[in-house]
Symmetry: C2
Subunit: 114 residues, 2 copies
DNA sequence: ATGATATTTCAGCATTCATTGAAATATCGA
DNA sequence: TCGATATTTCAATGAATGCTGAAATATCAT
């Protein structure tokens, strides 16, 4: 990851609502969740939400896909891992001191038992 | 670490010059380095530098101490580790997936051989 | 096609941010 | 004390940010 990307990702996460949004998506897993659900969960105006999604997407932290009339947003775990890697790689003047932090959710969740 | 602190730390790092400054301090180790040395290394105006140091300090990412007429700034590794912890703790919906990333530089470096 | 649902686009506004220049403060050496 | 060095403070300015409201677009059900 280049410094520019790191700054973009950090800036994207450095805002109350966006950090909430991202954490929600991270917890939702790789399948993501529709914009409306996020709006409901965090009580945000839909246009405000679009604005923040855009910033997260530009930073490569989330992806979108359309599903019917819903837009499904999902966290991009690889980008988050790259950011963690970038932050730790400059640690301790090159001496290996930090294990690379990573988050590898299961690709697809088999149906959750009720 | 509370969300507020995380946002503050992320915002502090989400800027070109400050990310450079912080990385430089991280590489300098816990003993830190004088403001002037940072200014020289990154070619920044001294007042601009003070502005950024302030932001980093408010976010708890650096500390200062006076030494003669120099102000020695040092990275606060614990705060950085707390931030990494915060980012990974919300990973994977609570499932343990990421080892806590940490950076623990030696407290004091014994004289470096020439 | 029509109306309803889901989301985005656009214009505007107050706030915050990063930088600059000039002046102030603190410490050291002679 | 005087001058030099190191850093901070203050005021000003242009740019970016986050939010709001109104209108546009896309999809679905009938």
């Amino acid at each position: 990851m280049k410094k520019t990307d790191a700054v973009a990702a950090l800036a994207a996460l450095a805002q109350d609502n966006r950090l909430d949004i991202f954490r929600l998506l991270v917890q939702a897993g790789p399948e993501g969740m529709p914009a409306g659900a996020v709006a409901g969960a965090l009580d945000l105006a839909p246009n405000t939400l679009t604005f923040h999604f855009d910033r997260l997407r530009t930073a490569g932290l989330v992806s979108v896909r359309r599903e019917g009339r819903s837009m499904i947003y999902a966290a991009q775990f690889e980008q988050m891992n790259a950011l963690l890697g970038f932050l730790t790689e400059n640690c301790c003047g090159g001496a290996p001191c930090a294990p690379a932090a990573e988050c590898k959710p299961a690709r697809k969740r088999t149906k959750i038992p009720a």
